[in-house]
Amino acid sequence: MKDLKVDSVGMIYEIPGGQAVEALKDVSFELEAGRLLTLLGPSGCGKTTLLNILAGFLAPTAGVVSLNDKRITKPGRDRGMVFQQGALFEWLSVAENISFGPRMNHKKSAEYAPRVEELLEIVGLAGFGDKQVYELSGGMQQRVALARCLANDPDIILMDEPLGALDALTREKMQGLILNIWKETGKTIVLVTHSVEEALYLGDRLFVMAPRPGRIHKDYTLPFAEQGLTADARELKKSPDFAEKREEILNMIWEMEEQIMGTGV
């Protein structure tokens, strides 16, 4: 039972001035182990808030979140995080960054050193272990962040716009890497993104979220991630099925944005 369960989760903030903002309202879903869920939606739809609740950084004001039937109340090793950028430790080398988790848990060098080499290989950074992270390009840094997260062998990997700061080409390569890692490790992944194409391509499940209050607007189950493991990414993204879904979701988000503007805010 390595499932992620989200049951009637709500999140209300008090903002200065006494106003209450409903960032999430009555969000419920279950995600079986090994799925890749992407969260998509306009600004303010609560997708990052939801991710932070799953990570245990925020406690919801209503509802329960549990992983493997264990309630999530604080950050833990069973849930790895990959952030947009700048979350690596610049004072450590690439290998030291990757071994950070095992070292914090008092593992011995002999235990984690072979795994670090292995992970460097997996993310395509073999031989870069002794480099300093600030010497690497943005894409390479995100590879390190992925490896660092995998070193702890979490049950689920949470990604907060991991490719958001990368150029288009690097971004495509990294999407392939995420798919490969997903397949090879069988990890559950939840990924927040702004890019409709990315959400479609990577997610074998996709939530389009809507703002005010933040909620799941539409729940898709998609074939593209599975196909993407074998097919060419470019071809896949050009396929009629893909294009149709993309237009559908873009229109959906466009309407939401118009509604927000329309209410005079």
């Binding site: 903002v21 925020l58 406690a59 833990g76 430790f89 004072w91 914090m104």
Partner: protein, 387 residues
């Protein structure tokens, strides 16, 4: 975007955060604790002085000291009178213009008085300054000063320009070599510089030792932020030298005053630097560490501390500069050794060449210290500005 930001309610989220240690946005000063701290400060002041403070014996002691210093100054006056034979105040006893003017007022006004005045000057220069055996005046200097007596004109400051007011580079170099080998009053300039440096090292060390933990505490905890905000904001604007008179009374002339003054000078800078350093840590770094299984103390030692190193180094560099400047000024009156006191002593004896050498040595040491810090910085925190 601004509106959406407001609605996403960064302030609002704080109440729902499960871990706030290391999260700068979650730390703000709590005014209630600031008030407590202010009251505590005043109560401490009262307790520290009122019950044990100015009792009778202390008061008597103070009276005695005043008496002693009064007698002392009378003696000094007598000595001065004795120095100035023939009623001549010595125009070269002090390079300051006001002393020069005062001297001019007393300079001989009639032709008949001049030879007497000259004799007085010669006698004093040759025999009067017995406490300066190493600093015999050259014939030329004696002649110059005798001439000064004759031509003393309160309106003509240009007479003051000369070896006695601004030494030439050559004179300065000669004096430097003398200070290097035999020294001023038998204390070499290296010993003075060493004394001063050792004071700075101790002051900075204890200033950092106290300041860094307090700064981190303020950066990481709202209650401690509130508590320390009051003393930090109250004491930080005080120029350290303003406390010099008080410190001299408390710690006496010498190391105690100098080192404590430097602790005072550096501690606020280090607090601010450490506080800023603790707050520059990116939330995503802290969260990544927690997700990787780090405990609070591991987050502090392995993330917040190394992340704050660049800020701490900036603080150290600023504190070093301020300390060095403060020290030299403090030593002018607060100590009997060190570069500052050497300069002051030299000034009193009109050895401006010694003063200039002292100034140059101070400047060079200041530059060297900063170069050293920059070098250390590039070695210790190569990632600075590259994150």
């Amino acid at each position: 975007m601004g509106i959406l930001d407001r609605f996403s309610g960064k302030d609002g989220q704080n109440s729902r955060k499960t871990v706030t240690f290391g999260d700068a946005a979650a730390v703000r000063s709590l005014p209630f604790y600031s008030l407590i701290a202010l009251i505590a400060l005043i109560v401490f002041w009262w307790f520290a002085t009122t019950p044990f403070g100015f009792d009778e014996s202390f008061q008597n002691n103070v009276d005695l000291q005043f008496q002693a210093s009064a007698e002392d100054s009378e003696l000094r006056n007598e000595a001065r009178l004795a120095e100035g034979k023939n009623g001549i105040s010595i125009p070269f006893s002090d390079p300051m213009q006001r002393d020069y003017l005062a001297a001019c007022e007393q300079a001989p006004r009639t032709e008949a008085e001049v030879p007497d005045a000259e004799e007085g000057v010669r006698d004093l220069m040759a025999n009067g300054l017995k406490d300066l055996p190493d600093f015999e005046f050259s014939e030329a200097e004696i002649e110059r000063r005798v001439g000064l007596v004759q031509t003393c004109d309160p309106d003509d400051y240009s007479q003051l320009v000369g070896p006695a007011t601004m030494p030439s580079p050559g004179d300065t170099w000669t004096q430097f070599n003398r200070l290097r080998t035999t020294g001023f009053k038998n204390v070499t300039i290296w010993e003075h510089a060493g004394t001063s440096l050792w004071r700075v090292v101790r002051g900075m060390f204890f200033g950092s030792l106290i300041g860094i933990p307090i700064g981190f505490a303020m950066g990481l905890n709202s209650k401690l932020r509130g508590i320390f905000d009051t003393p930090v904001e109250l004491f930080r604007p005080i120029p350290p030298l303003a406390l010099l008179p008080l410190f001299i009374v408390w710690f006496g002339i010498g190391d105690g005053t100098a080192v404590n003054l430097l602790i005072f000078a550096s501690v606020w800078i280090m607090i601010i630097a450490a506080r800023a350093g603790a707050r520059t840590v990116k939330l995503s770094k802290v969260r990544a560490a927690y997700s990787l299984g780090a405990s609070k103390s591991q987050v502090l030692r392995r993330v917040i501390l190394p992340n704050a190193l660049p800020e701490l180094f900036t603080g150290l560099r600023v504190a070093l500069g301020v300390s060095w400047g403060t020290l030299v000024a403090a030593e002018l009156v607060g100590a009997e050794t060190g570069l500052g006191s050497m300069i002051f002593d030299a000034r009193n004896n009109l050895r401006t060449d010694v003063v200039v050498v002292g100034i140059i040595v101070i400047a060079v040491i200041g530059v060297l210290m900063d170069v050293m810090m920059r070098f250390a910085e590039s070695k210790l925190i190569p990632w600075r500005g590259k994150g």
